[in-house]
């Protein structure tokens, strides 16, 4: 089946003229129309436009003018990444009709290599959440068990790739929003170093933590997508000009002599099943020649409060622009300015977004700034140092991605603190700005996927992708039955 293929094999088939872009797109559109009703992975799909673009791609290829070997392959894009002329809603009512007049840099890069836009995927509203349950368009469902959450916030992208509704997808990761849904849905998800991918066009949640990354069914495909979107962009002064050294051909999978750190703090409160699978994979790496040692990331317990202070503070300011004045929702019956603000924002934002705006506004308020926001910045520095120390001894750190496998829809949504705690294993990498990848390594007793996380030092995507490629070789492919 076409929709079972990897990006690399689709590319090969296209290169050999065994298939056309139109055929590929048709297959995915069929798959989407079959499954999206049940899984709710996509917010926007425009089949007409896609088929036109596929036709243009086929013409490019037949005249030998393909933009790259991937020209004609459709990709899903999270709905907080701006796509010119295509709705970009952030799964929020307040932007439910917003059509950006520009492309995000990452999407521009995809287009310049001939990748096509398959659709915009569901997510937690403004990427605030770990389940997609905060989406204005309703939750996405886990393809392995539709009673369970797919994780979040990039849940729609993870579901699309896991269920064969897309060969790959772009997502964004602020505190685990790529790695956690990748783990829950049994796909590969990578969050690069902060600055590796331009944030231009990514609708901001927490600017100092947000980073765009990729989902795919294989480590090699993840490397293809990430290498495509990486690169310096003058429109984002936090983007960094670094050589891309992790294209599929660069990943040897040879781990001999690679030093791997295993942080004890990252196994606390982790389900026994998950811990056992991860430890098993670590011992396999050791057998392949990696050097494994125990390490300590002693400030891990502060990561949650630090993250939720910094992220919400930035969010309270980032989301202030949605005021009903220039674009977005403006309810009827506005009588004056404060009415405009109150009604637009009260009706436009969901509960979780409001909660985080209030939290962030509070922690930045005069009289509380030093005790909360400032303290959090100091905590962040300690966490960064923790990793600096660790990477002076090891090349990579391996841990679980989540403490449990995917839980039931509705199980945690009423307990925000419990929900926040579930991010404990992924948020430190965002605070430190380092890259992390989630690789599917098995399933638990209920058949739900388990993810293994590999973290590397800044700009060491090559190291973690190589290790991931090695781990991948030792795993059976996990596929949902749907």
């Amino acid at each position: 089946m076409i929709t079972d293929k990897t990006i690399s094999s689709l590319s090969e088939m296209l290169e050999k003229k065994e298939i056309s872009s139109r055929e590929i797109c048709q297959a995915y559109l069929k798959r989407i129309s079959d499954l999206n009703g049940r899984l709710n992975a996509y917010i926007t799909v425009d089949p007409g436009m896609l088929m036109v673009e596929a036709g243009i791609s086929d013409e490019r290829r037949s005249s030998g003018k393909q933009l790259s070997r991937y020209d004609g392959i459709p990709i899903a894009v999270k709905d907080n990444i701006s796509t010119k002329g295509v709705k970009t809603t952030c799964a929020s009512r307040i932007l439910s009709n917003f059509v950006p007049p520009y492309d995000a840099h990452s999407y521009e890069q995809m287009k310049s290599r001939g990748f096509l836009l398959l659709g915009k995927t569901n997510m937690d509203e403004f990427a605030m959440g770990s389940t997609t349950e905060t989406s204005y368009f309703g939750p996405s469902k886990n393809p392995f068990n539709t009673d369970r959450v797919p994780g979040g916030s990039s849940g729609g992208s993870a579901v699309a790739v896991s269920s064969g509704m897309a060969p790959g997808a772009l997502g964004s990761d602020t505190g685990g929003s790529i790695r956690q849904p990748a783990a829950f849905c049994g796909v590969v998800g990578i969050k690069p170093t902060y600055g590796r991918v331009s944030r231009y066009g990514l609708v901001a949640y927490a600017s100092s933590l947000d980073q765009i990354g990729a989902f795919a069914t294989t480590v090699g495909d993840a490397a293809v997508l990430l290498s495509t979107i990486s690169g310096h962009d003058v429109r984002d002064t936090t983007s960094i000009d670094r050589e891309v050294d992790f294209r599929p051909g660069d990943l040897s999978g040879d781990v001999s002599g690679v030093r791997i750190g295993v942080p004890e703090e990252y196994f606390e409160g982790v389900s026994e099943e998950i811990a056992a699978v991860i430890k098993n994979k670590i011992s396999l790496l050791e057998k392949s020649g990696a050097v494994v040692e125990k390490i300590s990331l002693k400030y891990t317990e502060y990561a949650i409060p630090v993250y939720y202070l910094i992220a919400t503070a930035e969010a309270s300011s980032n989301l202030a622009r949605y005021d009903g004045v220039r674009y977005g929702l403006r309810p009827e019956g506005i009588n004056n300015l404060s009415d405009l603000y109150l009604k637009s924002r009260s009706e436009g934002f969901g509960r979780e977004v409001k909660r985080r705006i209030i939290l962030g506004t509070f922690s930045l308020s005069s009289g509380y700034y030093d005790a909360y926001y400032m303290k959090a910045l100091k905590g962040r520095t300690l966490i960064i140092r923790d990793f600096q120390d660790a990477f002076s001894k090891v090349d990579a750190i391996i841990s679980p991605v989540t403490t449990t496998t995917a839980f039931k829809i509705g199980e945690m949504i009423s307990d925000p603190l419990q929900m926040y705690m579930s991010d404990i294993l992924t948020i430190s990498t965002n605070l430190a700005g380092i890259p992390g990848i989630s690789v599917p390594v098995g399933v638990d007793g209920k058949g739900m996927p388990i993810g293994l996380q590999i973290m590397g030092d800044h700009f060491r995507e090559k190291t973690i992708l190589s290790l991931a490629a090695n781990v991948e070789k030792t795993c059976e492919k996990i596929k949902p039955e749907i």
């Binding site: 309270s316 300011s317 300015l337």
Partner: protein, 477 residues
């Protein structure tokens, strides 16, 4: 009881860069509403600011010109508040790490100069403009975002100004300096210079400051002075009648010449400043600052001193000539071409400034420094008289023709031929026998009259000194 006012000014200077501070939009003034905007200054979702390096350079130059220290580390912060003309609902500004700190300027006061400390100069983006409909029944408001993102330097003085007059002088000096270094048009009418005032009053000699009142809505230097004077009196009146002064913001009403309360301290915004995560901190190498320092021109104070020393001009002349850089340049150019400094200064201050409304536009003035120097030389060598020279100057400014050409064309050359003057004197004496008699009877005025008549006869061209000598010889002889 004697009171002492304490005044501080916050001056916003619009930097005259081509493009905005964080995007590439034009900063041109007066274009159609919302035509100079892009996703960045419109605050659309997902866009990011990128600092315009020209803004940074102009900010540093301004800081150097007010003797401030340039910070090797500074950063941008977000100032959060909701307003329809503030698209992101935060203004990117500098909070605790401004680009420049700890400067001063000197202002003229009664007995010399007074040093006024400048606490800081920081960079920030301007907001847009709200336009409220004045048509009855139309209760819409409009927003123009052309100005959104125009670069500003905010200059905050220490509370060291003691009167409305000092505030006025301070503003004049800031304006002159910013013009000299060409970082701003500093035009209060167009809004490229704006000023808020803080005023408090305390008992003379007291250490503690009184409660301060902020005054906004000031649209001219004069209203700054008037509002301060009004506010000082109001506060003293309140203290003396036993009322408490409350910290508040008041607006100046230029029609009634009064301030009235806008909001009290309790209603003051909590701006929730925090570092903007979209912009990396600015770290400046000393060499970078040095390079900018090299472009700093001679500043007005230094130029004034030099004019006094080098050209032996009076203090007053020097201060007039150096008040505008273009004027000072004009003067120096004239002197360089051989003119006597004091004479050049006299001509510029009386004749030239009478004919030009904006000395900054002196470049487009018809009479060039070269022409003025030539004109002065022609007076010096007796070709024309000082009086005729004024006619020539008038013609020069009107037509742009050189003085020699004008003199030739109009036949204005001074007559120094004694024979010619003699015959003119003879003619005048013949027709004015009464005056000759009066003179002989001791009436000094009659001589002046006769000289005037000869000059008239010559159409002003006769050399007045020769006329004097020859006439005296004739009638006394």
């Amino acid at each position: 009881m004697e009171y002492e006012p304490v005044i501080g000014l916050e001056v916003h200077v619009q930097l005259n860069t081509e493009s905005k501070i964080f995007c590439g939009c034009s900063t041109k003034f007066g274009s159609d509403s919302n035509t100079q905007t892009c996703p960045v200054c419109l605050g659309l979702p997902g866009v990011l600011p990128v600092l315009n390096e020209e803004v940074l350079k102009k900010g540093i130059l301004a800081g150097l010109a007010i003797n401030a220290k340039i910070a090797s580390y500074s950063k941008f912060d977000r100032k959060n508040y909701f307003y329809p003309d503030l698209p992101k609902a935060y203004q990117i500004s500098q909070y605790d790490k401004p680009i420049c700190e700890d400067g001063y300027i000197e202002i003229p006061v009664k007995n010399g100069l007074k040093k006024i400390g400048i606490k800081r100069l920081h960079l920030e983006e301007d907001a847009g403009k709200s336009i409220h409909s004045e048509t009855p029944g139309n209760n819409f408001s409009f927003v123009d975002l052309n100005r959104t993102g125009v670069p500003l330097a905010e200059i905050v003085s220490e509370p060291e100004l003691g009167s409305g007059d000092e505030a006025y002088e301070y503003l004049q000096k800031i304006k002159t300096i910013m013009k000299y270094i060409d970082v701003s048009d500093v035009n209060m009418e167009e809004g490229s210079l704006r000023c808020d005032v803080n005023v408090s009053v305390r008992e003379k000699g007291a250490v503690k400051f009184g409660e301060k009142v902020e005054i906004k809505n000031l649209n001219s230097f004069k209203s700054v002075r008037a509002s301060i004077n009004y506010e000082i009196e109001r506060q003293i009146r309140m203290i003396e009648s036993g009322e408490k002064i409350v910290q508040e913001t008041r607006l100046w009403d230029a029609d009634s010449n009064e301030t009235y309360s806008m909001r009290s301290k309790e209603d003051a915004h909590d701006y929730r400043y925090f570092p903007d995560p979209d912009l990396a901190p600015i770290i400046l190498a000393p060499e970078y600052i040095e390079e900018i320092k090299k472009t700093l021109p001679e500043l007005p104070d230094a130029k004034l001193r030099r004019f006094v020393d080098e050209y032996s001009l009076p203090e007053y002349d020097s201060s007039v000539l150096t008040s505008v850089k273009q004027l000072a340049d004009y003067f120096e150019e004239t002197v360089k071409l051989g003119a006597n400094p004091k004479k050049a200064s006299n001509w510029i201050m009386s004749e030239l400034l009478a004919r030009i409304t904006n000395p900054e536009e002196i470049k487009s003035f018809h009479a060039s420094p070269g022409m003025l120097a030539k004109l002065l030389a022609l007076i010096e060598d007796g070709t024309i008289s000082g009086k005729i020279a004024k006619t020539v100057f008038e013609e020069m400014t009107a037509t742009g023709k050189g003085p020699e050409q004008i003199i030739d064309e109009k036949g204005l050359k001074q007559v120094s031929d004694t024979g010619e003057i003699d015959s003119m004197i003879d003619a005048v004496l013949k027709n004015n026998q009464k005056s000759v008699d009066d003179f002989k009877n001791g009436k000094e005025n009659a001589f002046k009259f006769l000289v005037g008549q000869v000059m008239k006869e010559s159409k002003g061209k006769a050399n007045p000194i020769l006329v004097n000598d020859l006439l005296l010889k004739k009638i006394s002889g």
